[in-house]
Every structure is written in structure tokens, then in C-alpha cells.
Amino acid sequence: MSDLHYRFPPASAYRLNRCLFALKSDDDFRARFQKDAPAAIAAMGLDGEDAAALLGGDRDTLLARGAHPYLVFMADLRLKMEREPVSFEFF
């Protein structure tokens, strides 16, 4: 089962996943993150290596810490959509 693409999210990664979830789905949090990322994630209770992993943005590091792959993917896409909105064609 350990070679599954989508694995059981370990409880140790709850706060990390909660931050990724907020980046994906909470417009207000994403705005705070864009303005001051360290302060935004500190306010969510994320610290230490989890905070460093999220600020670093390296996918493999995040996954190794138990981040859910889909949350990493979509948090990144949502940030890109706001940073580079002109590169999208909207239907």
C-alpha cells in the first residue's frame, strides 16, 4: 500500500495539510500569504520543518512530510492563478 499515489494523510501532517487546504480554498488566507507568508503560516500554528517546507515550496519535501499531493498541486495552481492571471483563457 505504501506505493500508492494518494496515501493516508498522517496525523503528524494535519497542520501542514490545513495550511495547504487554506491556500487552495481560502481567498483571505491566500491574500495574507501573498503579503507575508511566514506571518500567515505562523498564525495557522505551523512552525519548524513544516513551516520551512511550505515556505520552500519544494513538492518532494512537502510530500515527504505527509502533505497530500493534491493539496500541494492545487495550492500551487491557485497561487499561480493570482500571480499570473493574464496567462489564463477563461470560458
Binding site: L4, H5, Y6, N17, F21, S25, R59, Y70, F90, F91
Partner: protein, 261 residues
């Protein structure tokens, strides 16, 4: 009455297309969605019961339902500049959750949860001009352990019976698939051959085969979302699939399919 059944891709790149996506391919999928929209109008649909896999939007790790029914008065969701609000067919939603529980499915229900794009991307393109209320039906696909394909199929069979006994004209829609691996090393190499073999089986009226697939196989093939199709197939049985399109992009097998139940 169950008057129609459709499966639709929902990848958000169909809604907001970045430069990485082939525009012609996206437009071909839109054309297939337009066919669904015309069919829904022709079928004089009273409600759309839409089965989708939540992308950790309505439900985070605070509570992970395997199978859930949205029984509010309306539901809303947002993605970038898009804002959606749909009325819920509350009597039908309530009948589904009550009769589902009666039939032995321990369903979760909610009266207020954000709507995931898995629901509104297909509805964005297929909702008839005279909009109809919906019933969002959640299947957990992204947070293991997910319900088995067999369980989804059995739930779909019960769902089909409930809808068939309903006096109004209802369409069942499954949102999701086909092969894709978001957030993993496999993102750029989906299992298109698996998709094509499965579509061949569905065209031949062998929908029951999806019920026998394991969760591990779905994960391996980038098809965890096909639990929504398994649910639909439980309702339509071995009706033959009419594949409107199968468009493999560099990361996603986009399919639009109809079954006449």
C-alpha cells in the same frame, strides 16, 4: 424517473485554460459538453443528481465522509473569478438520504458545505438555459481509505432504484476521470490505454466490470475518481455507453459519455 445518465470530465483547465493546454482539445471537450446540454434540454429534466469526488473542498480532515448527500436549500462554490450558486432539489435530496439509509447505506449528509469544482465545472457547460435544481452526491476519492468500487456500485444501484421511483424526471451525472495524477510524479504520464480499454468495455455494455476493480488498481491507473462512474454504473447497469469524446491531454484523459438507462 431516471431519464438519462452522463459522465463528464471536470478538470479546471477546461474552465480556465492556461497556455500549457491545447486550445483545440479544450474546445472539442466543450463541444461534447454542449451535446450533453442539448440532451438535458431535450430530456425535459426536473433535477440533476450529480455524483462527484470532493477535492478536499467541502470536507477537510476534520471530517471525511465516504458517501454524502447535500440536503440544503442551495449550494455555492467559487474558483478564482467564478462564482456559482445552485438551488438544491431538497425533496429529492431528502428522499435519497432517507431511503439510502433505509436501504443500509450509512450516509453522511450536510446542509451547508462549499461546492467543489468537480460539481460546477460540468454544470458550467451543461446546465440547460432553463436551469434545474441539483442534488450533489459526494463520494470520497482523494482521502484514503476511500469506499471500494464495489461499495460505490452497490450505492449506485440503490440510488438508481430511489430515482426510478421518484415521480419527476431526473438525470444522473458522474463527474470525474479519466486517468490523471495531480500532484505526483506521474502527472505528465496518465494511463490512457487503461482508459481506452475501460471505455471499450463500457461501450460493450460491461459496466459491471468496474465494480470488480480494486481501489489499488484505480490508484495505480490514475483513476481514483472513477468511483463516481462506478456509482453511476450501479444505477444504469449494463446499458451501453455512448462515448461523446475521449480527449487525452498531456496530463488528463478527458471523457464525456452518455448512457440511456
Amino acid at each position: 424517473m431516471l431519464v438519462g445518465a452522463f459522465a463528464c470530465a471536470h478538470t479546471p483547465q477546461l474552465l480556465a485554460r492556461p497556455g500549457t493546454e491545447d486550445r483545440d482539445l479544450v474546445l472539442r471537450v466543450h463541444a461534447a459538453f454542449a451535446r450533453v446540454k442539448r440532451r438535458l434540454a431535450a430530456l425535459r429534466v426536473d433535477a440533476i443528481a450529480i455524483v462527484a469526488g470532493d477535492h478536499v473542498e467541502a470536507f477537510f480532515l476534520d471530517g471525511v465522509p465516504a458517501l454524502a448527500v447535500y440536503v440544503g436549500t442551495e449550494c455555492a462554490g467559487a474558483f478564482g473569478r467564478y462564482r456559482y450558486r445552485f438551488p438544491i432539489h431538497e425533496p429529492l435530496a431528502r428522499a435519497i438520504v432517507e431511503q439510502g439509509v433505509e436501504r443500509g447505506f450509512d450516509l453522511f449528509y450536510t446542509q451547508a458545505a462549499p461546492l467543489d469544482y468537480a460539481f460546477y465545472v460540468p454544470l458550467h457547460f451543461t446546465m440547460p438555459e432553463a436551469a434545474v435544481p441539483i442534488v450533489p452526491l459526494h463520494v470520497n476519492v482523494y482521502l484514503p481509505p476511500q469506499p471500494t468500487p464495489r461499495r460505490c456500485y452497490d450505492w449506485g444501484r440503490a440510488l438508481g432504484e430511489i430515482i426510478r421511483a421518484w415521480p419527476e424526471r431526473v438525470v444522473l451525472m458522474a463527474s470525474g476521470g479519466m486517468s490523471h495524477f495531480p500532484g505526483t510524479d506521474r502527472y505528465a504520464s496518465p494511463e490512457f490505454d487503461y482508459d481506452r480499454r475501460l471505455l471499450d468495455a463500457l461501450k460493450a455494455g460491461r459496466g459491471h466490470e468496474l465494480a470488480a476493480v480494486t481501489g489499488e488498481e484505480l490508484d495505480k491507473m490514475g483513476n481514483i475518481e472513477l468511483r463516481t462512474w462506478a456509482t453511476l454504473l450501479g444505477a444504469v447497469g449494463n446499458a451501453r455507453a455512448d462515448v461523446y469524446c475521449y480527449e487525452p491531454s498531456w496530463h488528463h484523459g478527458n471523457a464525456v459519455v452518455e448512457w440511456v438507462p
